[in-house]
Amino acid sequence: MKLAGNDMLIQSLVNEGVEYIFGYPGGAALHIYDAIFNQNELQHILVRHEQGATHAADGYARATGKPGVVLVTSGPGATNAITGIATAFMDSIPMVVISGQVASHLIGTDAFQETDMIGISRPIVKHSFTVESAEKIPQIIKEAFYIATSGRPGPVVIDIPKDTTAPDKLFDFNPPESVEIRSYNPPIEPDPKQIERAVIEILKAKKPVIYAGGGAINSNASEELFELNQLLNFPVTNTLMGLGVYPAKDERFMGMLGMHGTYQSNMAMHNADLIIAIGARFDDRITNTPDLFAPNAKIIHFDVDQSSVSKIIEANIAVFGQVKNSLIELIKQLKDKTDLINGDLIKPWLEEINKWTELHGLNHELYKENSDTNMILPQAVIQHVYNITEGKAFVTSDVGQHQMFAAQYYHFDKPRYWINSGGLGTMGFGLPSAMGVKLAYPEEEVVCITGEGSIQMCIQELSTCTQYNLPVKIININNEALGMVKQWQDMNYGGRHSESTYKSSLPNFVELVESYGHVGFKIEKNSELKTTLEKAFSIKDKLVFIDIYVDPGEHVYPMLVAPNGSLKDMWLSKDKKV
């Protein structure tokens, strides 16, 4: 078969199983857009800003485990995509970003809309390619998808000069069936000897904790993790990125850990004698001061990325490989030794943890107590949303206090249902990522929990939702401020709210969304909270935006004491520190 560069590109994407491309056209990409027009095997979703395209592709990837695909033009199109690429990079999300480039003979001449996309994106991609000639397109696409999805996943940029997609030059189209890159061999199977060493530590631990993160989700290791803990019965905590990989409803689940983690999770980590890290990378929101981190714990670290191990906290036993495969081997070895698993050894530890939970655990019935007061508590909003959706919704979030309340009070029993920007903390992520999820799972409830600050960073995507009829629910936790910034200013800057409020300038969100053809509700009274939310969620065929005015003085707790604190040093309320 003979095809031009633009058609080879699209056909190669179809061969990779791509259903959706999220993008925005422009000069350098027009040959590609013409090829999109002439086919119907994949659908292009026209966003309103390239940042929206990257987050939508990212949301699609997080929910499905398949790579998200983005297409942008050169220059401003490419630079607008940068924030979304960095977001995906920090959270190890598979994504392929195709950026148009000026024609090869113009590169280096400061041509119209020329920008060095490969240079700009280099520190925030797993890898990147420049297409030097059209013949290489099928091979490059194959390699890009392989790199994006294997090992520790991540975004791959393909910069494609306009002449290589010209419709008038035809080439033999012989796409490769598979690909091998001799300089790239991510570990898959673990070293069984390392697992043997891990088993010895596991069998004698008196105060163990399993600490699982986003890597366990990327590796689809959720079932293995559960099976492992059917044998061990160890307490489990998840990172912000890992929520859902272990069922929240399980008795052994302690909640999230870290900066805004639960009291019991942070205390258990601090006092542990063994930490089993599974696809988690000990970042600064988890360790607090590294020198003070878990002083008595041995560390077993399971990860696919060698450079993540012993980077911040030295591991005693490192197991490199796909986390799923490593857990399968661990389970196998433990099953041969079930007679040596002594549940009594950890009994006092489980009791100690239960006491911590009783003492300062989160109040999951807050919404009941809150019902008589005037002010709506943001936590209570999340609890109502959880109850109404029966814990079954996909929840995307933006960044700020509302994100932490969602992570604390919406309980995730399955992986890939909690979708947030954990590593980069990108405001503006929530709405476009919800679009990507809704496209992947049109029959499922998709809820975006946002703040009035974050939503305005990608609010233009409300128009995309109209065009493609994407009936997501948007819960706007409106505290009329950049709440998380304000909280830090309250705690560390004597309450001086420098540039963190904008009260009189907020739009009328209900009128705003109605102008796009969506449905809007405004909730100001506690007495209306539950009934209006129920009404909003009963609407299935339209995007519904629920603008909820909450207590603007509310803070997120627990909060780690920093700088110089350990994991046991927490603020539990505005005036209570432990």
Partner: protein, 95 residues
Amino acid sequence: MMQRKILVILENKPGALVRIVGLFHQRGYNIESLHVDPVSDIENYKDIEDLLNLKLKENEVSKLLITTTVSDNLLRQILRQINKLIDVLIAKEEI
């Protein structure tokens, strides 16, 4: 802290070198000296061929020598990060 020599064998492709240099810069490691050459004397790279279980062709890969002053832990971290780069065949300390 002591001065170390790092040897990197990487694909002789545009963009491969700058990724390594960029990595040093981005992570705040200082490069004291840097030398890069295409590998034409493949007969002297039998040990690398054995290590990687592959056959090299003339000028197909480049050899990069970097000196930097770092601690043991940091050296290990740097090597792991360089080895993670897609175009790198191997990075190791040259003793």
